[in-house]
């Protein structure tokens, strides 16, 4: 499924008990959450981080992958994700790089596809993780809206 070849490397982001796997190409870098500037928050944008030659909005997700309106202190890492249009940061507890080889990937069953869910599939290995993409997470976080709003006010 999902075009992930067995040579692809995945990055596993932990949001509390929930673990989300992204193709490694979707993750531009892993930064320390402490490096983000949370002085000015406009939920769902909780702050900004300077990385990769720019300043990018920072978001956080709860265990149900819904946007949080405040910064969870346990999120120590800021994963800088790249979708087609922009970069954005997502706070997570932990990040692991793991080879795709040996993991089974399945599409999310039809009966479980809620409107607007960022979950695209299920990864089964030593444990179970949700498969998503930077694009799907950007939609949930309304990243485009934040970028457009920022451009309008600039």
């Amino acid at each position: 499924m999902d075009g992930l070849s067995h040579r692809t490397t995945l990055v596993l982001l932990h949001f509390g008990r929930t673990r989300v796997a992204l193709a490694q190409r979707a993750v531009r870098s892993l930064e320390a959450a402490a490096d983000a500037d949370f002085a000015i928050a406009q939920p769902p944008v909780l702050g900004t981080i300077v990385a990769g030659g720019g300043r990018w909005p920072v978001y956080a997700l709860d265990e149900e992958l819904a946007p949080l309106r405040s910064v969870p202190r346990e999120r120590r890492i800021c994963a800088l994700l790249a979708d087609d249009r922009t970069l954005f940061g997502v706070l997570c507890d932990e990040a692991q790089v793991l080879p795709r080889e040996g993991l089974a990937a399945y599409p999310l069953p039809l009966a479980m596809r809620r409107t607007g869910t960022p979950v695209e599939g299920v990864i089964e290995g030593a444990s179970v993780a949700l498969l998503s993409s930077a694009h799907s997470l950007a939609l949930v976080l309304k990243v485009g809206a934040a970028v457009e709003s920022k451009m309008e006010t600039a």
Binding site: L65, L108, A111
Partner: protein
């Protein structure tokens, strides 16, 4: 009059039935994985025969005020086969069961009306026995995503 075999399912406080050939596997002590960002009535999957099979909590869908299944012990699940269309491949879905299914014979003369609109959206027909009405589940609709929201 003709008779057909069916499996009588106990879904929390509700009863329903499926055709005898639709039930393909029964797990008495299943290990199911809970997935985030999924509907409250379909939170779990099992990995079975190299497939990721959704597990539906129809009792919770029928009455959302009831507690959802937590995949703890003392729950069973049945795996059911269905097709979304005549030429479509066979797919599989699972249902949480409060007790193991019971094999019954259903007579055509026992046919009756479905209890209410909610049942009408997930059942194709209904029969009556000594205890009450037993809707016959429309598995392809239940697992098609029509209930996902």
């Amino acid at each position: 009059m003709s008779q057909a075999g069916a499996w009588l399912l106990t879904l929390g406080d509700h009863r329903a039935a499926v055709g005898v050939r639709e039930q393909v596997h029964l797990m008495l002590d299943p290990g199911a994985a809970e997935l985030a960002s999924t509907p409250a009535h379909c939170r779990h999957v099992i990995f079975w025969n190299d497939r990721c099979v959704p597990v539906m909590d129809l009792a919770h869908w029928l009455d959302p005020s009831t507690a959802a299944v937590d995949a703890g012990p003392h729950r069973h699940l049945g795996v059911y086969a269905y097709q979304l269309g005549a030429d479509m491949p066979v797919e599989f879905g699972a249902l949480w069961l409060s007790r193991p299914p019971q094999r019954v014979e259903v007579d055509d003369a026992a046919a009756t009306q479905l209890p209410d609109a909610r049942w009408r959206s997930i059942a194709t027909a209904c029969f009556a026995d000594a205890i009450g009405t037993v809707p016959i589940l429309d598995l392809s609709r239940i697992f098609s995503g029509a209930l996902a929201g």
